[in-house]
């Protein structure tokens, strides 16, 4: 697994119908996939869940990058398959591997089509988040701001990671040399600079924010307001129905693997 895996979770600025959905709607959709995927270990259910997301991937124009993230997930899928082969039947191993792919796809779809800014706005609108944030950090937008900043810094950190790797390789470090223990130790010269860069950057960010008057007296307002459209309402209704039905079936029937 390399940094390339992250490609399948990176947001790209497009204006497809999927991108334009409200982030809350999309998040509920993720849950609507998550709930049946986790409640039932049935191969048909998994295939149905997987296939149902394919049209969205195409409408969102992210199918190609989704394929990239799948390719990166092959190793993990194989691992899940083998481990479950030892603990259960091969059918349940298939089901659980498919479950992994379903989860990978839905998260990948969500992050590829939802801008971090929208996500931050959505978090800001959730009362519980604001309440927690005020209790812990004394300011209602702090938690959502922290989240947005963290997401925002991932690509920057990825660039830093590449530079650190290049710098240490220029000093004769060979990452894939030696036995397992040596290989793990090889990462020390990568991780320490990276960690320090991240810490230094967050301190600088904090100072920059404070010198610009963050968080302000009145709290934060935003230029863009999230608004649920009729499409959103219908998707929310469908998602809630799926979640409801899933639980109902789960408590009344026993679903076999195949």
């Amino acid at each position: 697994m390399s940094l390339r895996t992250l490609e399948g979770f990176k947001f790209s600025t497009l204006k497809t119908p999927v991108h334009l959905l409200d982030p809350r709607t999309k998040f509920l959709l993720v849950i609507a996939v998550l709930v049946p995927a986790l409640l039932f270990a049935n191969i048909y259910v998994m295939i149905a869940l997987l296939l149902s997301q394919v049209p969205l991937l195409f409408v969102g124009k992210v199918a190609r990058r989704w394929a990239l993230s799948l390719r990166a997930g092959v190793f993990l899928s194989a691992l899940i398959f083998v481990v479950n082969l030892f603990t259960g039947s091969y059918l349940s191993a298939i089901a659980l591997t498919l479950r992994f792919l379903v989860l990978l796809t839905s998260f990948s779809l969500f992050f590829m089509t939802t801008s971090p800014d929208d996500l931050g706005l959505a978090l800001d609108r959730i009362g519980a988040v604001r309440w927690l944030s005020r209790r812990w950090l004394g300011y209602p937008n702090a938690l959502s701001f922290t989240f947005t900043t963290a997401v925002r810094l991932v690509p920057t950190l990825a660039v830093d990671a590449q530079t650190v790797v290049d710098a240490q390789r220029s000093r004769g470090l060979e990452l894939d040399k030696g036995n397992l223990l040596k290989r793990v130790r090889n990462y020390i010269p990568i991780l320490i600079p990276l960690l320090l860069i991240a810490i230094r950057r967050s301190l600088e960010l904090a100072e920059a924010l404070e010198s610009r008057g963050f968080p302000g007296k009145e709290g934060r307002t935003s230029l863009f307001q999230l608004k649920l459209r009729p499409v959103d309402y219908s998707i929310i209704a469908v998602s809630l129905a799926i979640i409801g039905i899933s639980f109902w079936v789960y408590f009344h029937y026993k679903i076999p693997v195949l």
Partner: protein
């Protein structure tokens, strides 16, 4: 010798960073690579020790194609000092930091010890040998990063923005140090925006713009030409601007360094003095 033959490089994002670069680098060479931000300077530097492989063309280091040799092996000959020291410092002491490369290259402990001591002395860092590199100032950290590469005695030294964050005295020391290295037969390549530093050191200048070499030649002829300098988003060094204004007195316009300026001005002034004496 490092030879670049029609080297082009395109990043995976599709950005074309280098286009058909031809370049030769020999022992005793001192080259400054200059150009606007994003011109491809750092990309070029990363080609010299094989961190990046050309999309087209090839890079030969002492006859070996960089595509076929490991970065670790090339790094013994080609020392690349990165711009930001924070990208490489990780050890508990400055001494360990400088020893890291030597240990990776498999030198014997006593050789490592001797090299570390010598390098720290040469860069005025001896007093910090047992200090944590993270407690040092920005300029000092940068010198530790330089020491970490220099200790392995590479034949080719590539410096990415070595003058950033250095005060004038440190720049002066750096210049002398570079002078010493290339007079010892090593090749030094310096990537920089610092026109004044380049003007005073008088290396061969290569101007990069949008991934292409747009001009090359001695510093005084390249840096004194407005149209060339503008292409690389630079301004002429102060001395060149001054002499550009003084051409009407019969002074040459391609003067960029204080030393030559002084000789020429002294000549002019003593001529004038003689003339004044004759008139009165």
């Amino acid at each position: 010798m490092i030879t670049l033959e029609k080297v082009s490089f395109t990043y995976r994002s599709g950005q074309r960073a280098l286009q058909e670069i031809d370049l030769n680098l020999e022992g005793g060479d001192f080259i400054a690579i200059m150009g606007e931000n994003g011109a491809g300077k750092t990309t070029l530097a990363k080609h010299l020790n094989g961190l990046l492989k050309p999309s087209q063309g090839r890079v030969l280091v002492d006859g070996e194609d960089t595509r076929k040799v490991s970065v670790a092996r090339l790094s013994r000959k080609v020392g690349l000092v990165f711009q930001n020291p924070d990208h490489l410092l990780f050890s508990e002491t400055v001494k360990d930091e400088v020893a890291f490369g030597l240990k990776n290259f498999g030198f014997a402990p006593e050789v490592v010890h001797n090299q570390v001591t010598r390098t720290l002395e040469a860069l005025g860092l001896s007093e910090y040998a047992e200090t944590s590199p993270f407690l040092l100032s920005g300029g000092e950290r940068k010198r530790v990063a330089l020491a970490a590469i220099l200790a392995t005695e590479p034949d080719y030294l590539i410096l990415d923005e070595p003058t950033i964050g250095q005060d004038y005295q440190q720049k002066e020391r750096l210049r002398n140090f570079i002078l010493q290295l290339y007079s010892q037969g090593k090749a030094v390549v310096m990537i920089t925006h610092d026109v004044e530093f380049v003007a005073e050191s008088n290396p061969k200048v290569i101007l990069l713009s949008q991934g292409r070499i747009v001009a090359q030649g001695p510093a005084d002829s390249v840096l004194s030409k407005d149209e060339l300098v503008k292409k690389a988003s630079l301004v002429r060094p102060q001395m060149s601007r001054l002499f550009g204004e003084l051409t009407k007195y019969g002074l040459p316009s391609d003067v960029v360094d204080v030393h030559r300026a002084r000789i020429l001005l002294e000549e002019k002034l003593s001529e004038a003095k003689v003339r004044v004496a004759q008139n009165s």
